[in-house]
């Protein structure tokens, strides 16, 4: 790795960027424009996010807050755990553990650094981790392996049974850094008594692990408070999703990203609630006026992303969608599987959802175990893709319900579990009447396919299929 990258802690660098960005609009417009010239690599993201007004401002603020918590975690008496996006952070917050979400950190790196996370991606390979592994973890993992991040106390993941390369990244990190490791293992079936029991027993083992490594007992009252806040957030997300069903969709293209990123950072915490509130305000207002969330007010076509988004290139992907009037109807990351979610109600898939009983302390552990087993990806990519409640069913029912005109797969070449069957999925979705596009780019590493090629191929698909 380049020597200069080891000069400063990378998370501290990120904090500086985001905290400065969160204050950018404190001054005059002229000052703001002046400042943008000094952040050429971060500029695209800052402009895209801040142009959404209050929600974007709050979103940048909570990113800065998260990084501040992270950088200062040790000093403030918190433990730190490296974890993954599909692991609900609620349990960590309830136990004074700072969750360090690798994928979120990788996205922040791609947003701010000149060469994105490429140096850290490569550093992983230098120390023996495979270059074919998923770039979503590898991007920031490299920094931790290089010892330029906050001190880590433990490593926790919940993707065994769902995504090997994810689980493997955490297992590798634990062995490489010699840190305590815990895996929540996911059985191939989502529902049924056997799976419920497995999820619950496994989660109890997790709590025992966290108690052992923090030296603190889990306080059920605190867990309840956090879950109550999460309940509130689920209701707000349900309202946002309800709004997204409208034609035109009143929510701007970036909202979907704000929703899941805020949850990954602060589920169960008031920070997340504040972002959701701001989005709802705008969404409700647009809906009342019958306005589209697209910048120029014209929704031309509706897209559903069946996997993840494209984070490199300063959010150019979102800008392109917005520019072409392509409304964004969500992806696998954004949906909540609370029993009050619109799609759960619409299709009556209550057994695949979770309900929180925050009035009953005895049920809390079982509830949070179930909630965690319904996190994005964890919920729908286990077992065969065409089994009940799995990827195919979710993709088709969501695309239909949100009136998508086409479906897009975007992931990373490191994703074994989806590349193993995405061709089959695309065949099925095409048969169901959805033009389906498989992107060969890497969501986190622009060196796999340049933005120019990604854009051209995407637009070519839309043209050939007469979608634009």
């Amino acid at each position: 790795m380049r020597k200069e990258l080891k000069e400063y802690k990378f998370d501290w660098m990120l904090l500086s960027c985001f905290s400065a960005a969160s204050k950018l609009q404190n001054g005059t417009e002229k000052e703001y424009q002046q400042m943008l010239r000094y952040i050429p690599y971060f500029r695209g993201v800052v402009e895209t996010v801040l142009s959404t007004g209050k929600p974007g401002q709050r979103f940048i603020e909570i990113c800065a807050k998260y990084l501040d918590n992270l950088v200062n975690a040790k000093e403030r008496g918190y433990h730190t755990a490296i974890t993954t996006f599909c692991f609900s952070p609620i349990i960590f917050y309830a136990m004074d553990i700072m969750p360090i979400c690798l994928e979120v950190m990788s996205v922040m790196l791609t947003f701010t650094y000149k060469r994105g996370s490429s140096d850290f991606l490569d550093f992983c390979n230098e120390v023996g981790f495979t270059e074919t592994s998923c770039s979503s973890q590898r991007g920031s993992l490299g920094a931790y392996l290089a010892g330029i991040g906050t001190d880590i106390d433990m490593i926790v993941t919940d993707t065994p049974g769902v995504c090997d390369t994810n689980a493997n990244a955490f297992a590798f990190a634990a062995s490489y850094l010699n840190k305590p490791f815990f895996q929540l293992d996911m059985p191939p079936d989502l529902t049924g008594n056997r799976s419920d029991e497995y999820h619950r027993e496994d989660y109890k083992a997790l709590i025992a692990f966290l108690e052992e490594h923090t030296g603190k007992k889990l306080d059920l009252d605190r867990l309840r408070e956090t879950l109550q806040e999460a309940e509130k957030q689920d209701a707000m997300i349900a309202e946002l999703e309800e709004l997204a069903r409208l034609v035109p969709n009143p929510l701007p293209v970036t909202y979907n990203f704000f929703v899941y990123a805020s949850r990954f950072l602060f589920a169960g915490m008031p920070e997340c609630t504040r972002v959701l509130e701001a989005m709802l305000e705008v969404g409700r207002k647009n809906a009342a006026e019958g306005k589209s969330g697209i910048s120029n007010g014209k929704e031309k076509v509706r897209s559903f992303f069946c996997y993840i988004d494209h984070y490199v290139q300063s959010l150019k992907f979102w800008q392109m969608l917005d520019e072409y009037g392509i409304c964004y109807q969500g992806n696998i990351l954004s949906r909540s599987w609370a029993s009050n979610a619109p799609h759960v109600k619409e299709y009556g898939t209550y057994e695949a959802a979770y309900t929180l009983h925050t009035d009953d302390l005895d049920k809390l552990i079982g509830d949070i175990a179930l909630l965690n087993s319904r996190m994005p990806m964890i919920k729908s990519i286990r077992g065969p893709y065409d089994a009940p409640h799995m990827w195919l069913q979710d993709t088709l029912s969501l695309a239909k319900m949100y009136k998508a005109d086409f479906i897009v797969y975007n992931g990373t070449p490191g994703c074994r579990n989806t590349w193993g069957m995405v061709k089959l999925l695309a065949r099925d979705t095409e048969k169901a009447g959805f033009p389906t596009y498989i992107m060969y780019a890497d969501a986190f590493d622009e060196r796999v396919q340049s933005w120019e090629t990604t854009r051209d191929r995407f637009l070519e698909f839309l043209t050939v299929r007469r979608l634009i």
């Binding site: 790795m1 550093f123 070449p413 796999v448 090629t453």
Partner: protein, 263 residues
């Protein structure tokens, strides 16, 4: 002092080196032919002609490269990795890290203070970290592969070049040309991409000074400088021979050892 020789039959080029009294008296490089023994015969003949001697004058000859087992006239064979390690110490006496980028593969070798191989790593399968990658890209740009280095030195804003696969990278480069990106920026992007891939291999074995670079790509200043930047170490330039003949040179040095004329 008897005369020794080394013959390196590679997939793209074949090289021969003849040495006497510890000095290179002749060397030659040709494009490899379909059959390894033909490449070997013809490259060796060329070198012999330059040295104005015949095969009978060669006391010991070592073969290396992909075609090493098919060379009729050698006394012994050795792996390219061992040959490059040997050559590196002759070219840069206190070399501890050898980076070789050849036509179809690249390798990084770590040496101990005596010059023994401690560790090595080679690229896997794909051509995107090898000289072939540069050749393909140069062809797309319509320049000679030897011009890439000079071109990239003029670049102000290098592109990000796809590195996962040579075929994809090619499509990307064409895209950039169509978009009107200056050719020097593309060249610089290509060189940097190549260096970044190589740096992973080098990082894997742990880079120690002095660093010596062998193989044809060592002649591309663009890649060498980009690599220096990424690794944060100076790469010693080879002045006393063509870096491309390192494999054959190492083979000749091993031949000399075999005669007991070393140490």
């Amino acid at each position: 002092m008897r005369i020794v020789a080394g013959c390196d039959v590679g997939s793209l080029t074949s090289k021969a080196v003849i040495m006497s009294d510890g000095k290179i008296i002749a060397s030659s490089i040709i494009k490899s032919k379909a059959r390894p023994w033909e490449s070997a015969e013809s490259v060796m003949n060329e070198a012999l002609q330059k040295a104005q001697i015949s095969m009978n004058n060669i006391a010991f000859c070592v073969g290396t490269g992909y075609g090493r087992e098919k060379i009729p006239f050698v006394n012994e064979i050795s792996s390219e990795i061992a040959c490059h390690a040997k050559a590196a110490r002759w070219l840069i006496p206190n070399a501890r890290t050898v980076i070789d980028i050849g036509g179809q593969d690249c390798k990084a070798i770590k040496l101990d203070e005596k010059g023994n191989m401690v560790k090595f790593i080679t690229n896997d399968k794909c051509a995107s970290g090898t000289g072939r990658f540069l050749e393909v890209m140069a062809k797309v740009l319509g320049v000679g592969v030897d011009q890439l280095g000079e071109l990239s030195s003029k670049s102000k804003n290098p592109i990000t070049c796809a590195t996962a696969c040579t075929v994809w990278a090619q499509a990307d480069v064409i895209q950039h040309i169509n978009d009107g990106v200056p050719i020097e920026d593309i060249a610089a992007g290509i060189n940097t991409a190549m260096a970044a891939r190589m740096s992973v291999l080098a990082g894997n074995i742990g880079v120690e000074r002095e660093v010596c670079m062998t193989g044809g790509v060592a002649k591309n200043e663009g890649v060498v400088q980009a690599l220096e930047k990424i690794l944060g170490v100076k790469i010693r330039r080879i002045r006393n021979a063509d870096p491309q003949i390192a494999g054959a040179l190492g083979a000749a040095l091993i031949a000399k050892e075999k005669l007991g004329e070393d140490k």
